[in-house]
């Protein structure tokens, strides 16, 4: 046990004295956090829109104004020609083209209904649906307003709904929607926990892989192999400082997240750190495994980046796990990063407690045991 502490102490001195490592550990994560969180967003706003207005009445202009004022759309042209609009779609200058037909106001006044064509560039996949959602909401609200003006009746407008409230005699459903967690729909709140996981993983795996690869390169590894230090002791001593460092960085990142992005921290931080402690063991063990397969620090870095890339992109960090194909979702169960991302988001954003994250936590424990055992097994003091 003492021997472990001796070696661990030397490790700490190494880290503290190596300026590049220090930078990697303290500065880079925070910078990355700040940049990534701002970049990693799917928020849809200011959708460039062209309006083709064949009607040119106050009703049609009113609709255009509503769209422009909503904040969701940036109306670039209020009375474009159809060719212009189509070109804009092809070029990518416009994402949405709203075509208001002739006799729009007249139809509304006489028959009570009129169509409006919405053509959206669906390159963006599901974003198209959301754009249509927003547009639909605006149309519905405007319908209600116009209803009062053009064809007043006994009906009154309900508050906070997207459909007019019922009047006497006719059945109506009043729908209220509520978003649980992240009600402000702030993508940064969604991304911060995930990116923190990525950073902690990067540090754990990259540093442990590089560390041992460096000893191999320098020859100091051989010196240690000749000593009576067992491989379990050696590994424990190497990983201990990095483990502490990883947890420290998590704390640092959380602080930055709170100060800069006002990330909610609904659940127990203790639970989060406990999960992190277990998760770091896995990350470190993977780094160790990588180091047993390479000879130089460079190779260690390269392999780590590749491996981590795959892990991170398949972890639900950037794109939701629920959106993956079903078999891919099953495969992702094998990804320890996925589980820690789930736990982080559940604890920080949803305020989950131990009972709610028990399943992924247990899986993480399993991973820790397996990966550490593998790492210790693969490390040989003696070449056969």
């Amino acid at each position: 046990m003492r021997r472990i502490l001796f070696l661990a102490r030397a490790e700490v001195l190494h880290i503290v004295r190596d300026r590049t490592t220090l930078a990697q550990v303290l500065v880079v994560p925070v910078v990355q956090l700040l940049v990534l969180v701002n970049a990693a967003t799917f928020v849809i706003r200011d959708t460039p829109t062209y309006v083709v207005d064949y009607d040119r009445t106050s009703a049609s202009r009113g609709l255009t104004n509503r769209l422009a004022a909503s904040g969701h759309f940036r109306v670039l042209e209020r009375s474009a020609s159809l060719t212009q609009a189509n070109d804009a779609l092809l070029e990518g200058t416009a994402t949405l083209v709203v075509t208001i037909p002739r006799d729009f106001e007249k139809s509304l006044t006489r028959e009570g209904r009129a169509p409006v064509q919405l053509v959206v560039n669906a390159e963006k996949g599901s974003a198209a649906g959301i754009v249509l959602n927003y547009a639909g909401q605006i149309l519905a609200r405007y319908s209600a307003e116009l209803g009062r003006e053009l064809r007043p009746s006994v009906f009154t407008i309900g508050a906070g709904t997207s459909e007019p409230a019922p009047g006497r005699g006719n059945p109506r459903i009043e729908v209220r929607t509520r978003g649980w967690y992240n009600a402000t729909l702030d993508y940064r709140h969604y991304m911060v926990p995930g990116i923190l996981v990525a950073l902690v993983t990067l540090i754990g795996t990259l540093l442990s892989a590089q560390n041992i690869a460096r000893e191999k390169e320098l020859g100091t590894l051989e010196q240690l192999n000749v000593t009576p230090l067992t491989r379990a002791q050696f590994i424990a001593a190497k990983l201990l400082p990095l483990w502490v460092l990883g947890l420290f960085d998590l704390g640092l990142g959380l602080l930055a997240g709170k100060l800069v992005f006002d990330v909610p921290m609904r659940g127990s931080l203790l639970l989060l750190f406990a999960a992190a402690a277990i998760y770091l063991l896995v990350a470190l063990a993977i780094g160790l495994l990588i180091s047993t397969g390479v000879d130089t620090q460079q190779q260690a870095m390269f392999v780590t980046f590749f491996v981590l890339n795959i892990y991170l992109l398949l972890s639900g960090l950037f794109t939701p796990i629920d959106s993956m194909s079903p078999w891919m979702q099953a495969v992702s169960q094998l990804n320890p990063v996925r589980h820690f991302v789930t736990i982080s988001r559940a604890v920080l954003i949803k305020g989950a407690g131990l009972a709610e994250v028990a399943q992924p936590l247990v899986i993480l424990c399993g991973f820790a045991v397996v990966s550490l055992t593998l790492a210790v097994q693969r490390y040989h003091k003696r070449t056969v």
Binding site: V35, A39, T41, F42, V43, I44, D46, L89, L90, L108, A114, P115, V116, Q117, A122, E123, K124, G125, S126, L132, N133, A135, L139, L146, G147, R151, S153, P164, P166, N170, P171, R172, I173, E174, V175, R176, T177, G179, Y181, L185, D186, Y190, Q297, Q298, M301, F305, N309, L313, L314, F318, T319, P320, D322, S323, S325, W327, A346, I349, G353, Q359
Partner: protein, 367 residues
Amino acid sequence: MTALWGLLRKEALHILRDRRTLAVLLLLPVLQVVIFGYAIRTDVEDVRLAIVDPAPDFATLRLRGRLTAAHVFRLITVLRETEPLERLFQTGAVQAALVFEPGFADDLGRGLPARLLVITDTTEPNTGVTIQGHVLSVVQSVMREMPPRAGGVQIVPEARLRFNPTAESKNLFVPGLMAFVLTIISCLMTAITLTREKETGTMEALLVSPLRPWQIIVGKVAPYLLVGFASVIGVIVEARLVFDVPLRGSVPLLLAEGVLFILVSLALGVLISARTDSQRVAMTAALLGTMLPTMILSGFIFPVESMPRVLQYLSNVVPAKWFVIIARGIMLKGVGLAYLWQETLVLFGMALVLLGAAARSFHERLE
């Protein structure tokens, strides 16, 4: 010129003889497109739904039935009260809940507003909003079937989805994925040439030889361009066969643009190798300088339009950003150079600038 041929032959032999690396270079992009193509999606399907129905009756059952029939939702559980909901959301067992307020059926019958609460998990904002939209549209279609009202107006949206009628996110991501994967390959290839030359010390020998700097560059880049071309083909074929991504535009144009893009990435790699002597620095620069920015800033996953202004400007420096636009344009919109000439020009420009800078660096090394 014979000197150049000699160099080209040597590089080609290097590549062909290192079977393992060649296999990796050809298989890796294909493998990555498959894995990531299935994983990087933002479609909302199979939404896990809970229903809280304190007093089930014909009306509530009708709405419930419509929701489950929509195939968008998967009913997980039906509860009598809202208490267990929190836990279900926190474990992720449920993504949305439909809560019939007590007296729903009675109110409906009496012509009073019948209240319905839709709770969606908006941790991931777009998913939340999309689920809301789905629920609302089902509710609206039910309401439309109810007796029409005597007054009021209804503006009926007729929606059309252009370029991606099924609005599947894979069609969005796979072209971008191609850019990402090709970037990785180019990065890898540069790393390989770097290692080989520096380790064997032959770089110095080349510089001292009668070969002019531009010849050295051509000699180093050309063979890898061919390997890259093979990757481009592989990746496009995969997009079509495995993911059924449409290819509405010109295939030769897409191939040409792909090769141009690889040229830019290789040029960047050569420039890095010309500037640094330390392999470690070169590799770090290659990795950090290509992989990370491409993943985050190129618009491959996160739309550039969604980013803050500053980052939008920054993304213009990332070659992959332009190729993503080109790939999506050709494949999904079916447009040609007429619409894509600007982006193509940018890539051309980048290639020239980078290659020129690399040539100058080699010049400097000789002095």
